[in-house]
Symmetry: C2
Subunit: 385 residues, 2 copies
């Protein structure tokens, strides 16, 4: 397989984008990625999306956005992997270029959630759980994560307030990201006092419902310099799965698919956790960020919160997390999130992250999770010397 | 890219499978494919499905079925391309093996429609149309195809009864297929008198709503003989797209994506239309079969019906179509259909199609269409000498 690099990136500001239909969000991000590179040809389009079938009554989204971006006729494929749809779309685009099938793949993640507030979106999101054994008995997606957090706190004797550094860091980083949705600082007191959603998860443990789209262009590494002044190489790419239902896991507190996906990506990239300069972690809920850090090997089991408490997760810390706001504060337009993570990693590796720039960022990692750790895709990127 | 062959096939009988949840249908087809080969390892799973998010509230279907087939942890990806979901899943599995990424890919198409009869399924199916410009104004999917058929009959001076040979042939072939849903002969009189659905499409122009799943295992051609006594090689694989909305086409009667996808597959396979021994055509509606034959180059524009009228489409004809019943009579469980087509093509090329065996079948073609010709995937297969 060939080496693959990213030569173009594009995104729309995350928010309540009620005035644009879903395919226009995708088109805007894709056109931005095209204009960001010098590419004049696109051979295939991959689109990640979770909820367009359910909320917009629109299937075949990949062909629709390809047509509206001016690429009628092109191979276009949509993948669905709940909140990991964006990362999985990138994986399929990577594979198409790595295989030699195509030279230029355009990948987009897109979601539009705020047209359907309240119960409709709660119902849509719980389709990422096991329909027969979780949602059928009344589970919501936040309730499932609450069970995980409850058990975690009990087993490891961790207090709820110990999670505070994660959302606080995410909000702090979002302030300087013009594409983030929640651009304001969060205090420890605000976090501690926030309204309960599903005990012990409170409002400020949760990422927001929102709209957005982000896109990249991939091409063979050997051609990349012709099309971008700062091509970034894909060093590792790996997908792993786990049971959908939380109760089917052998060890509730160990996210096996996170561990497996990260391990495979580390091996392919020939790096160790300590080589990672920053990590776009999937902080859909605070507990998910912490459990992921442990499963990836950035911390011992039960010790993930100390990365936050010890001040290691900020831009200047040992392992900067969510450098542009993460799911918590940039926003979590579910099927688009994995692509926002990757676009943001590109900004860091290009050295264009502004006030949030991680010094000497050379190797970055982005991990996108579908379900309660059920479908996990990890990518490791490196700035070329 | 490496050559790829099919070494295992499996399917469940199409029908009203109310007693099994959707993932069990997939698991049964996948286990059948595993047992059909001598494979002991699966590296990746690809699942095609259209309606599980909408009708079953179940996303992340690929990971769910991988887990239940005993492959927890494996890379698992679900694609959605409306009625072409099955064929697109095969395409992604083919790509994974061809690239060198994996050696053994398990691909499944699955759909469960009959739990949701009536308006709910009609609403689900129209998500394959343009939501803003077709379904929003009240179009149903059959109404869209009716416009195409109406225009076709007007432009080419064709009568409705001229389409009769296509469903009659499909039903005739289904009689000998134990996995088909509608295993009875159809007469010309029955076709002509059938109840109108959306003028000029009558009930017997339409494929039925149903449940089903079909699966295959792919591996590199050079390894295939170790795992199957009759490996079948993928000679051509191509995807092309067109506008979603029918009214956006430059020429309403020319299915451009069908033409482009077929042309690319013919080129890759280095064959001509006359080299094809049988064709699993996407006969969701009679008009779609006829228009596809023309766009593929099996007939001049406006002359497709004569393949039927001249008796060329039967098992012993010049171009046998729908050799195991097609969408019309085997049934059209939408996201599974593309995989049924491929499994049936394998039965022909293995020489195991029983009473429906096409004599000396060496090169077969299967074409799966999403939307009204919006997303088209064509595969050409060859029996190895």
């Amino acid at each position: 397989m060939r080496d693959v690099s990213i030569i173009g990136i594009g995104q729309v500001p995350v928010g309540d984008l009620w005035e644009k239909p879903i395919y226009i969000l995708a088109v805007e991000a894709m056109l931005a990625a095209i204009h960001d590179s010098k590419v004049e040809q696109i051979d295939a389009v991959y689109v990640g999306n979770m909820l367009s079938s359910t909320l917009a009554g629109q299937d075949l989204l990949a062909g629709l956005v390809a047509d509206h971006v001016g690429l009628r006729g092109v191979e276009a494929v949509k993948v669905e992997a709940a909140c990991s749809s964006g990362g999985i779309a990138f994986r399929e685009g990577y594979l198409a270029v790595a295989s030699g099938l195509v030279n230029f793949a355009l990948v987009c993640g897109v979601e539009k959630m705020l047209d359907h507030p309240g119960e409709e979106i709660t119902e849509g999101l719980v389709s990422a759980a096991d329909a027969d054994w979780e949602s059928a008995v009344g589970d919501s997606f936040v309730a499932i994560n609450a069970r995980l957090m409850q058990r975690y706190m009990y087993e490891y004797n961790i207090q709820h307030e110990d999670f505070a550094p994660f959302p606080i860091n995410a909000h702090h980083n979002a302030v300087n990201n013009p594409n983030a949705m929640l651009r304001y600082e969060l205090s420890k007191a605000q976090f501690d006092k926030a309204r309960m959603i599903a005990d012990p998860i409170n409002l400020l443990d949760c990422s927001p419902v929102c709209d957005g789209a982000a896109a990249v262009i991939l091409c063979p590494t050997e051609m990349a310099r012709q099309f971008s002044p700062y091509p970034i190489k894909v060093r590792g790419s790996a997908v792993a799965t786990d049971s959908l239902a939380l109760h089917d896991r052998h060890n509730l507190l160990r996210l096996e698919a996170v561990a497996l996906s990260a391990q495979k990506a580390f091996e392919q990239a020939r790096v160790q956790p300590q080589d990672i300069d920053f990590f776009e972690v999937h902080d859909a809920f605070s507990i998910m960020a912490v459990a992921s850090l442990e499963a990836c090997g950035f911390s011992e089991p039960g010790k993930g919160v100390y990365l936050g408490l010890d001040g290691e997760i900020g831009i200047n810390g040992k392992l900067p997390l969510c450098t542009m706001g993460g799911l918590k504060a940039r926003g979590h337009p579910v099927g688009a999130t994995g692509m926002y993570q990757i676009v943001e990693a590109m900004m860091q590796l290009r050295g264009l992250a502004g006030k949030n720039q991680v010094k000497d960022a050379t190797i970055g990692m982005a991990q996108n999770i579908g379900g309660s750790g059920s479908n996990v895709v990890t990518h490791i990127f490196e700035r070329e010397a």
